[in-house]
């Protein structure tokens, strides 16, 4: 069974803090993705990575950065958290082919006060 784990289920941070969200997959997938999920907006892609140290911006990269130093780990960084970044963050991974299924982690619900 594919397993995608995220470091925290719930996180509370203060405005201006630097926040790290970690994602680890155990299936040797090439692709990894970070989404944020907001009511009525569905899933929006923040960043994705198709290989170690490789990354591409998604649809809403502003205020975020990512790091992929190892194949199994993909980190999302909020450089200076703001209240409008309060959201559910979902990590996913997949094999490289376009027909491939994405496997999702359980999500991290982030509250920025």
């Amino acid at each position: 069974d594919v397993k995608v784990t995220q470091s925290s289920r719930y996180l509370v941070k203060r405005t201006g803090e630097k926040v790290f969200l970690e994602c680890v997959q155990d299936m040797d997938h090439e692709n990894m993705f970070w989404y944020r999920q907001d009511p009525g907006l569905g899933l929006r892609l923040i960043y994705f990575s198709y290989d170690v140290k490789m990354k591409e911006k998604g649809d809403i990269p502003e205020g975020y950065s990512v790091s992929r130093e190892k194949k199994e780990r993909f980190s999302l960084i909020l450089e200076s958290a703001s209240t409008n970044q309060t959201s559910m963050y979902l990590c996913a991974s997949s094999w490289r082919g376009p027909e491939e299924t994405q496997y999702f982690g359980p999500g991290t619900r982030l509250l920025v006060l």
Binding site: G42, L43, T101, P106
Partner: protein, 114 residues
């Protein structure tokens, strides 16, 4: 560019009744089509996907979807729903080539009533 429209944000239905969740997409190139389900407090998991061949695709938990190229639709159906089907359902598309990106719809919340 691709886009996905899920026309219904919420669908209430009684237990054992049939249900159809609608998905329309827009794309100038060929795409793969997916339906994912998100149960409360969980991540998304794949229900089914259309890659090629037969336009009727069967998935897990008794769900099926039909690809209609002329209407650019990929509606999800189940002949008889259970309380446990209460969840949010997302339609998604991905181009055959040129990008790793998936485009997700805004989701349909299915509420099954006893």
């Amino acid at each position: 560019a691709q886009s996905v429209t899920q026309l219904d944000s919420q669908v209430p239905v009684f237990e054992e009744a049939p249900v159809e969740l609608r998905c329309n997409y827009s794309s100038s190139v060929s795409v793969y089509l997916f339906w994912y389900v998100q149960y409360p407090n969980q991540g998304l998991q794949l229900l089914l996907k259309y890659l090629s061949g037969s336009t009727l695709v069967k998935g897990i938990n008794g769900f099926e979807a039909e690809f209609n190229k002329s209407q650019t639709s990929f509606h999800l159906r189940k002949p008889s729903v259970h309380i446990s089907d209460t969840a949010e359902y997302f339609c998604a598309v991905r181009r055959f080539s040129g990008t790793y990106k998936y485009i997700f719809g805004t989701g349909t919340r299915l509420k099954v009533l006893a």
